[in-house]
């Protein structure tokens, strides 16, 4: 029989606050490397200039403790709670929101959450968007993903007919990138989920964005699709900042999920080049 480990929710609040700041100020190393490689490969002079500016921007952000982008995002929190963990000291969701509140205030991050009709800002970037899983073990793993509005607005969920098959899925993904053009701040990263249900596909697509850009998909079928889609997307010519070029996309992530015999859902979550996420284990 395994013992239960106690984790204070105040420790989760502290960690969320810290990760909000780190995520918005420091571009992940894998993204920096992908931009550097893209700059070396990019055929367009303007495209190369844009990529150089983005790398310079990341350096300035880190040196001056300025956000990488003024859109410091809504705070998306993925949390895996070990089933041998006992959370004490308060409400988990409230602790996460408290962490967001503090992290956004203390690091001078923009608060972008508002009422859908009045557009009145909630003032502290809450409520956070929280995706919780119960997993084996006695640890708590947290990911903070600040998600900007520009790329999120270009994302799509399709509920396709199974008859369209792989070709139809590819077309839906290509159409999404083509329609978005310069709007989502290319070079983008595409988080794609094929299968599942309406909501499962959307959340799974977002969760793929937690992967490292240099990671290889353990599902060989998905890995092939990732490679093919990346090549096709980069033939579109949209390029860095949409000004034309060979680097429209840095990476495609694909997850394949069993779905209903009647269904073929496809979710495409667009991520801008400021692909910010930080994680911690408690």
């Amino acid at each position: 029989m395994s013992s239960v480990r106690t984790v204070e929710v105040s420790a989760i609040a502290d960690t969320v606050a810290r990760l909000c700041g780190e995520a918005d100020l420091y571009l992940p190393e894998d993204v920096r490397q992908a931009l550097t490689q893209a700059q070396a490969d990019e055929p367009s002079p303007v495209g190369r200039e844009v990529l150089e500016r983005l790398l310079e921007n990341a350096d300035i952000a880190a040196d001056e403790k300025m956000p990488i982008c003024q859109d410091c995002g809504l705070a998306i929190i993925f949390i895996d709670v070990g089933q041998d963990v006992h959370l004490t000291g308060g409400d988990l969701s409230e602790a996460i929101n408290e962490g967001v509140r503090r992290g956004y205030a203390e690091n001078y991050l923009r608060k972008s959450s508002c009422h859908p009709f009045s557009r009145v800002n909630t003032g502290d970037n809450t409520p956070a968007i929280i995706h919780t899983r119960i997993v084996p073990g006695d640890k708590v793993k947290l990911w903070v993903v600040p998600k900007g509005g520009g790329a999120e607005n270009m994302s799509k969920v399709y509920l396709l007919t199974p008859a369209v098959g792989l070709a139809g899925v590819k077309k839906a993904i290509m159409d999404t990138v083509e329609a978005a053009g310069p709007n989502p701040c290319p070079p983008v990263i595409l988080g794609v989920a094929v299968g599942g249900t309406f909501e499962q596909a959307a959340v799974a697509a977002k969760r793929t964005l937690l992967r490292k850009l240099d990671s290889v998909n353990p599902d060989p079928e998905a890995a092939v699709l990732e490679k093919e889609l990346l090549e096709e997307v980069n033939k579109l010519g949209i390029g860095p900042a949409g000004l034309g070029g060979g680097t429209t996309c840095l990476k495609v992530f694909v997850e394949l999920i069993p779905c209903h015999i009647a269904s073929l859902p496809v979710a495409v979550n667009m991520q801008c080049h400021a692909a910010r996420h930080k994680e911690a284990v408690l």
Binding site: S44, M66, D71, R110, S112, G149, N183, G237
Partner: protein, 185 residues
């Protein structure tokens, strides 16, 4: 692509007519900020016969909602927001003399037609380079709608803000031209 062209607002009709899609420009001087919420209010004010929060004749507007200034800074990160959300309001402002819009992303046909008709240009800043752009901003002051927070209208004094001409008054479109030059499918 051309040499750098320097622009200092307020801009004249002649200043913008000479610009071509693909030109690189550096803007120095006074510009104003506004996103959708501020645009809605400005257009409502104009419809009621009121005075807009800044003179529109020759004006340059920057679609930005900056992050809060850290201690000792005039502004936080300040890159462009996606421009199509202002498409519904932009022609009204151009009719009143707005000469340039700074943002990122595509404009609709109505906005492009209004640009040709009223002689106004659309300039793109690099999206997601907010920390870099902040270095060009020397002064920032909220002049209207402070309750909108990041969406309030600010007067900015900028120096050598690097931008690309995307849509000129002659129908040129850098997004289309750039893409056509590099499309391989």
């Amino acid at each position: 692509m051309s040499e750098l062209i320097r622009l200092s607002p307020p801009l004249s009709e002649a200043d913008v007519i000479s610009l071509k899609a693909g030109d690189k420009v550096l803007v120095s001087g006074t510009i104003y900020t506004g996103r959708d919420a501020a645009h809605k209010r400005i257009v409502e004010t104009l419809a009621e016969g009121g005075t807009p929060p800044f003179p529109l004749e020759g004006a340059v507007i920057f679609y930005v909602g900056p992050s809060p200034p850290p201690p000792g800074r005039v502004i936080g990160a300040a890159g462009p927001t996606t421009s199509y959300r202002m498409d519904a309001y932009a022609p009204t402002l151009m009719e009143k003399g707005l000469r340039a819009m700074i943002g990122k992303g595509k404009r609709n046909d109505e906005v492009k037609q209004a640009m040709a008709k009223y002689k106004s240009v659309y300039l793109a800043a690099i999206g997601g380079a907010g920390a870099l752009m902040a270095r060009c901003i020397k002064e920032a002051e909220v002049i209207a709608y402070p309750e909108l927070g990041p969406e309030a209208v600010r007067r900015l004094v900028v120096e050598d803000m690097p931008l690309f001409v995307v849509n000129d008054v002659h129908g040129g479109d850098l997004y289309q031209q750039g893409r056509q030059a590099y499309a391989r499918r």
